[in-house]
């Protein structure tokens, strides 16, 4: 039990002692990405090796006389593409290993844990140079980590390691040294803006809640990260759950709330597991519950799992879902700060926003403002994916340019592709192209170009991506996820999708483009909630930036990225064709004819572009004509 500030201090000193006692720590990444590439097995293998090695102790005991090696599961170490990732942390250095396989574990243990060698073949390499320490790797060196500061550095599940690294210092400072108003003022002055996409100033929100007459208030964390292509919040929840909770506790104390809720997306079982564990640990030692550390502050934290509705990422839909209702947005005002969960004033912030709070309280608003831009202070996490060399989780100061993110951090395009566009902000966002590479990424600048920073998904696209198909993809997503409450979104997304499907199928007309534009603008201005209003953005953005691609689909029946099935023209190369007739037999519509042992021919008027002929040709004689 930690019943006072002194007790926390003592716990910290003891935890530090344990941490310092390790001669070496093997940190195995346990982010969703690395687990998918098999890091659990790597963890078990290391535990097994350590247990079998004579004179090696896994758990701390004061009287052990031998080498003390800790094997720990950490949060996301960032370079998801190269998983499973393992860090060897010694007193004087840290080595980052990549793509570690079970067979490598024994060698790592012999040479790098017991010995002092570095295994060259497992190091991170870029442009012929190997990097040993994680902070030297260009992908990591160019980042500034606040929300992700702890991710990858220690055991994500261990409360004592979190406390040893300074965890709950911010909370105790807030609880014992600051008044509620001072906390809110500090957060307000820091300029922290909501990281969920809207960018509303967090301090203002807290102030509005604190001002309400109603005394029952709630703090709710939006962990319903539904944008396809975004996994930042999931990484924080599973990689550093205690920091998120500490941020929520500070908010709860500041606005006098005694209950909090974390709404986690159904597809993130690992986040739910780690948060549940963290809450149980905190309740066990009295850091959550009644009269925390002997104060008057009582706080209970609950987890709600989503049930597969994207719209629940919208504030009023999310609170409706916690209440046990259909997750449908409602008309505002009243806003969530006045009437949120159970009609009570509610602070509703996203995961990353809360994760920033402890550092702001600890280091002050001025420190926070010194990072990022004037209008958007601090950092932003992005999930960098798509046709790029280094995919993964990154955190950079607001105002960093796309060029820096894609070419410095991301290592440039994959397989020598040409940069075409980056889709930012998911189904609520738009595209940025080559001309925008030097636009600073912050809430206000990006908006000027018809996109949004959004929650932080960055999907990089090259010449093999068809922008019309991308617009269709997002529209099919929002159409499916529309809750159906308001007509503009329910009908508008359906009609827009129909037009896009028509164009992709090669049946579009030029007048469709005007209709698409008109519908998109109508939905944008008339939909009920933020999700509906932003649903047409991918269409508007691609129409503006890639209109010629739309027109090519319509007038020339050409998809320059060779993605759209209906545009593909299958042709038989007479040089390779042996006249075996296999393609003709496989064609479901009889579009292929010819004579045995002579070159066959595909009739493009009958062909339905199914590709069955190409898949079955033994001589690779069938290709798609440009």
């Amino acid at each position: 039990m930690i019943e006072s500030r002194e007790a926390l201090h003592q716990t910290r000193e003891e935890a530090k002692k344990v941490l310092d006692s390790y001669d070496c720590r093997i940190l195995v990444c346990s982010g969703t990405g690395c687990i998918a590439t098999g890091s659990e097995k790597i963890y078990e293998k290391f535990v097994e090796i350590c247990k079998d090695a004579p004179g090696i102790f896994l758990e701390f005991a004061p009287h052990d006389t031998g080498e003390h090696v800790g094997v720990k599961k950490t949060g996301c170490q960032g370079i998801c593409e190269l998983g499973p990732l393992v860090r060897i942390q010694k007193k004087d250095k840290v080595i980052q290993y990549t793509k570690v396989q079970e067979d490598d574990c024994a060698e790592i243990f012999e040479r790098s844990v017991l010995g002092d060698e570095v295994i060259e073949s497992l190091l991170y390499k870029q442009k012929g140079i190997s990097y040993q320490a994680p902070e030297e790797i260009p992908f990591i060196a160019k980042q500034t980590r606040i929300a992700l500061a702890n991710c990858g550095k220690f055991d994500a599940e261990s409360l004592s390691e979190y406390i040893a690294s300074g965890g709950f210092t911010a909370f105790t400072k807030a609880l014992f040294e600051m008044t509620e108003d001072e906390i809110i003022e500090e957060v307000d002055r820091s300029g922290l803006r909501g990281r969920g996409g809207g960018g509303f100033p967090a301090g203002k929100k807290w102030k509005q809640v604190a001002r309400q007459k109603e005394t029952v208030r709630y703090v709710v964390c939006n962990g319903d990260e539904g944008d396809p292509g975004a996994f930042m919040d999931g990484s924080v929840m599973e990689g550093d759950p205690y920091r998120l909770i500490e941020g929520m506790m500070i908010a709860a104390y500041a606005v006098k709330a005694s209950d909090g809720y974390i709404y986690v997306r159904a597809e993130y079982p690992m986040s739910v597991k780690r948060l549940r564990h963290a809450i149980a640990e905190l309740e066990r030692c009295g850091l959550l519950g009644d009269h925390i550390m002997g104060s008057d502050f009582c706080f209970h934290l609950h987890i709600n799992r989503g049930a597969g509705a994207f719209v629940c990422g919208e504030g009023s839909a999310l609170t409706a879902s916690i209440e046990g209702n259909r997750g449908m947005p409602r008309v505002k005002p009243p806003r969530t700060v006045e009437k949120g969960l159970w009609e009570k004033p509610t602070v509703l912030n996203n995961v990353e926003t809360f994760a920033n709070v402890p550092q702001i309280i600890l280091n002050g608003a001025d420190w926070y403002r010194s990072i990022g831009t004037v209008g958007s202070p601090g950092t932003k996490t992005f999930s960098l994916t798509g046709a790029i060399e280094n995919t993964g989780l990154i955190e950079v100061p607001m105002g960093t340019t796309l060029r820096e993110i894609i070419f410095d951090i991301g290592g440039g395009m994959k397989d020598g592709g040409t940069f075409k566009a980056v889709q930012i902000g998911g189904p609520s966002g738009g595209c940025l192209t080559e001309e925008h590479l030097d636009v600073p990424l912050d809430f206000d600048s990006v908006k000027k170009y018809g996109a949004i920073v959004g929650s932080g998904g960055l999907v990089v696209m090259d010449e093999h991506t068809c922008m019309v198909e991308v617009a269709r993809f997002f529209m099919s997503f929002t159409q499916r996820e529309s809750c159906g409450k308001c007509v503009p979104c329910r009908e508008g997304t359906k009609r827009m999708l129909e037009i896009l499907e028509k164009i992709v199928a090669g049946k579009g007309e030029l007048s469709d483009l005007d209709r698409l534009q008109e519908l998109a603008e109508m939905v944008k201005s008339m939909a009920l909630c933020g999700l509906g209003k932003s649903a047409p953005l991918p269409v508007l953005s691609t129409l503006k930036l890639f209109r010629s691609e739309y027109e090519e689909h319509i007038t020339q029946h050409r998809c320059r990225a060779k993605v759209c099935e209906a545009m593909k023209r299958y042709v038989i190369n007479p040089e390779f064709c042996r006249g075996c007739s296999k393609c003709a037999k496989n064609c479901p519509v009889g579009a292929i004819s010819g004579q045995i042992k002579k070159c066959y021919h595909i009739n493009p008027d009958i062909c339905i572009h199914c590709g069955a002929c190409k898949d079955n040709c033994a001589f690779d004689a069938i290709y798609i004509e440009d």
């Binding site: 990405g33 687990i35 975004a230 996994f231 999931g234 509705a309 960098l384 997503f477």
Partner: protein, 160 residues
């Protein structure tokens, strides 16, 4: 008629979340986790127990994509069609799985109740796209061939 054990299980689950209307979603989630679907009779029973109307319970259950009134297979395969996976060709993976299992858009569960195939909008492992999930386990960098091999492995495990 459902076996009596279903109602006993439901009682346990209701007790763990409390008899209040806000427990509806967590209770339905636990029941579905237990039986891999939401039996209609049980939903009616739960509604009565926690004091919401049957209509309300059904309206909530049908709103959320995760709830299914039809039994799902032992292995629920969710092929990710999030942006990153889509761009890295996730649909051929789905097609290959459906073809191998004889399933389609309208027929999602195999008759031996072994496999259910669905798509999902993002699994949060975008760095390793295209991905898919079998029950709670995420599989990275899928190809049509790798997916077919995985199904063979799962089937093989059943036979052994």
């Amino acid at each position: 008629m459902l076996d009596q054990s279903y109602y006993q299980k439901a009682d346990e689950i209701i007790a763990s979340h409390g008899r209040k209307s806000s427990s509806l979603i967590p209770i339905m989630q636990d029941i579905q986790e237990e039986y891999r679907y939401l039996p209609g009779e049980l939903l009616t029973y739960v509604a009565g127990q926690i004091g919401v109307t049957e209509a309300k319970a059904y309206s909530v259950a049908t709103f959320y994509e995760n709830f299914s009134f039809e039994a799902k297979g032992k292995y629920v395969i969710k092929v990710c069609d999030g942006t990153a996976c889509h761009v890295r060709k996730s649909m051929p993976v789905l097609d290959a799985i459906n073809k191998k299992l004889g399933l389609s858009k309208n027929r999602k569960t195999t008759s031996d109740m072994l496999f259910t195939v669905e798509t999902v909008s993002c699994l949060g492992a975008c760095g390793l796209a295209p991905t898919m999930m079998v029950n709670d386990e995420v599989y990275p960098r899928m190809t049509p061939e790798a997916a077919e091999a995985l199904i063979d492995r799962l089937k093989g495990g059943e036979g052994a």
